[in-house]
Symmetry: C2
Subunit: 418 residues, 2 copies
């Protein structure tokens, strides 16, 4: 099996100033074509460090992908380090990349500087992947039978260039396939889930590996992986195994692979020509933001109201004053009135509403931080749910949002496609 | 200087299923107490791999922090691997952690299973950091004068335990200080910025290192780092250097360190007792979500409307029909009417509105995907701006949101505190 390692360069990663999202993106792409990533590392903007880490990576895996340190500024030293390592002396101008750079400067109305122009100069023994989304091209080196790719660290540009990287790997090497299949569950804590499927897990066939992936937004995912080429018809094996789980986990299963709650709900409602609106208090726009993340959201999502202030709940969502006085803004009654209010106002088939306390402040004995009230309104019904979660503010907002989407899913009661 | 390495364990990281956010969090915490992170790596759920990587890490740095593989499920093998490496034979029950586990099960209304109970059993030669936010405790090992910490991989639990890790490091070792200072800019592309400050950068004193940190939500940050203990009074040196940039960069500078546009705007408006509302079309709730992320947002933010459908713009925000017919929903005129509409409806001091095309579909020759119209309404004024960005949908939504917040900041015209 072809193996790879990913190396991200930049002091900003090592001091914790940014999260490295590149490694994950790259690993996902490599995995999809059957290249197994054995190792990821992040290292400093330091020439010696870069050279020794890349040498070690090249000695251990067939493919090494490096990101970062290719920008126009002085702290960007990857190109120089790789040239030193590969014994390259001279740079040549890549006319295609230069054209792109000129175009970008023109569009932004800025002068073509020497710094920008330098980006088109590449080591003579490298193969270039032209970067149409930025100024620094991708570079491929063949070193003692191994492939080394160097890409810019800006995620958007790196992602653009990865298509070229994948094309080159498929052409030069011929990867075998790795098979993964994942099912997504929501509503059962990881340890309870493990207990429920203990028997099934103990009896998994050889060569099939199970992993648990818990996440506040997507629930607990269960992944089966088969690297072993002796397992034939891997897809069938995985499907049969997951089918055995259906009676055990029931409607906790909501989808597969990269499915999210908002994705499966959107696809289901769009297929039925139905629409959705959202009234949010404590989730502050997060649910609307999740629903509009995917293209085509406008077919489903008509709009949302972030009713942070009680006045907004009363005046725009028509929540009766007596509900807020009698039950408080954080109550199932208020959430129900908010859901009915937005559903009527926007004329949608369904509506979700949330009211709760994200914390850390604002809680009381009766309604501590982490309390969430959710309502779903639909044709002829309003259903509500109250839950108490424990987390910090950011985690509570995420979990409130996913609990609300999951409650809508349960109310809709549809069969997931696995 | 005390050095550290961070090692995250989990196949889900290596196949690109999740982004590793733990390393960044841990590095930030270590950095703040003067421990320099030299290396981060992610490795598989594989005993041999774990043992060899940790041995290597311990040979190179004073402190090693490992996350992952401590869950209750069978794919979690870190504890076993570390015991093998440290030559530990037996486990002992930690009564404090057992109490926490019992409490969690009671609260969730689930039975205390053997799987849960096992979590309280820890290697006899380890020092325990009790985990009150989950079932798996943190463990500290002293191995040949080096410190090895093993923490669960769930970010929320790891974050809880890092406070204990930091406490232990401060007590057992005595780290020196590293100094970083960052200023935040918005509106100048990285390469133009580099050109503008070239002279200044060339004349930085020895021992002071500059880094550029571009990000679609926060702009380009500039960080000065001083590791060298020969530079005394580091804070003054950094302040003087950044002061020299003020006349060069003008109002592009909006804050320092971990400042974000929403944070500086919120602090400024709250200090003046002023309020804000938001009407979003293409940004789909992202701006509201950013503004409500920080605690105390309710003092500033009254509410928002996600007017995805044109009907919502007309009926709730009172955008006149003729504006949509004459200029289209994506126009500065429509954005202005949306901002005025929400400001009036919610009675806030200021209002932001966005209308644009996040893409990839929905664009035209005249208004291609990436077009964004922004309006800010305040006492006696409405200002608008139109821009064209190029990115995929997710990036466009992020940049639309930050452009809108930055436009509000420019309209407010306040001095950042650096």
């Amino acid at each position: 099996m072809l193996t790879a390692s990913v190396c991200t360069i930049g002091d900003e990663i090592l001091i914790g100033q940014i999260v490295d999202t590149n490694s994950s993106y790259i690993a996902g792409k490599l995995n999809a074509i059957g290249v197994k990533v054995n190792h990821m590392q992040s290292i400093a903007d330091d020439e010696d460090e870069i050279i020794s880490s890349l040498k070690l990576a090249l000695s251990k895996t067939d493919i090494v992908i490096v990101t970062g340190g290719l920008g126009p500024t002085k702290d960007d030293i990857t190109k120089k380090a790789i040239m030193k390592m590969a014994g390259t002396k001279s740079l040549v101008c890549n006319s295609k990349q230069l054209e792109v750079i000129e175009g970008i400067c023109r569009k932004r109305g800025i002068e073509l500087s020497d710094l920008n122009k330098e980006q088109a100069f590449v080591p003579e023994n490298s193969t270039i992947i032209v970067n149409k989304s930025g100024t620094a091209p991708g570079m491929m080196f063949e070193i003692e039978g191994r492939l080394l790719f160097s890409l810019p660290g800006v995620p958007y540009e790196m992602q653009f260039l990865m298509d070229g990287v994948i094309g080159n790997i498929l052409e030069i090497r011929k990867p075998e396939t790795i098979y993964h299949k994942t099912i997504a569950t929501f509503g059962i804590p990881e340890s309870t889930l493990a207990k429920q499927i203990e028997n099934w897990e103990d009896n998994l066939p050889a060569g099939v590996k199970l992993a648990y992936l818990p996440n506040p937004l997507t629930g607990v995912k269960l992944r089966l992986s088969m690297y072993d080429s002796s397992v034939t018809d891997k897809e069938n094996v995985a499907n049969e195994l997951f089918n055995e789980l259906k009676p055990v986990l029931g409607n906790a299963i909501y989808g597969k692979d990269s499915d999210t709650l908002e994705k499966v709900i959107s696809e289901y409602l769009i297929s039925r020509g139905e629409t959705l609106s959202v009234a949010e208090s404590c989730t502050g726009g997060k649910i609307s933001s999740m629903l509009t993340f995917n293209e085509g959201a406008s077919r489903l999502f008509k709009g949302g109201i972030v009713a942070y202030d009680n006045n907004v709940k009363q005046e725009i969502l028509d929540v009766p004053d007596e509900i807020i006085i009698r039950y408080g803004a954080v109550s199932e009654e208020c959430a129900a009135a908010m859901a009915e209010g937005i559903r009527k106002k926007l004329g949608t088939t369904y509506a979700i509403a949330t009211s709760g306390i994200a914390g850390p402040g604002g809680g009381s004995q009766e309604k501590p931080a982490g309390t969430i009230c959710i309502a779903v309104a639909g044709p002829g019904f309003v259903k509500t749910k109250r839950a108490r979660l424990s987390g910090d503010r950011a985690r509570n907002i995420d979990r409130f949002s996913s609990e609300a989407l999951n409650f809508l899913r349960i109310c809709l009661n549809f069969e997931p496609s696995l």
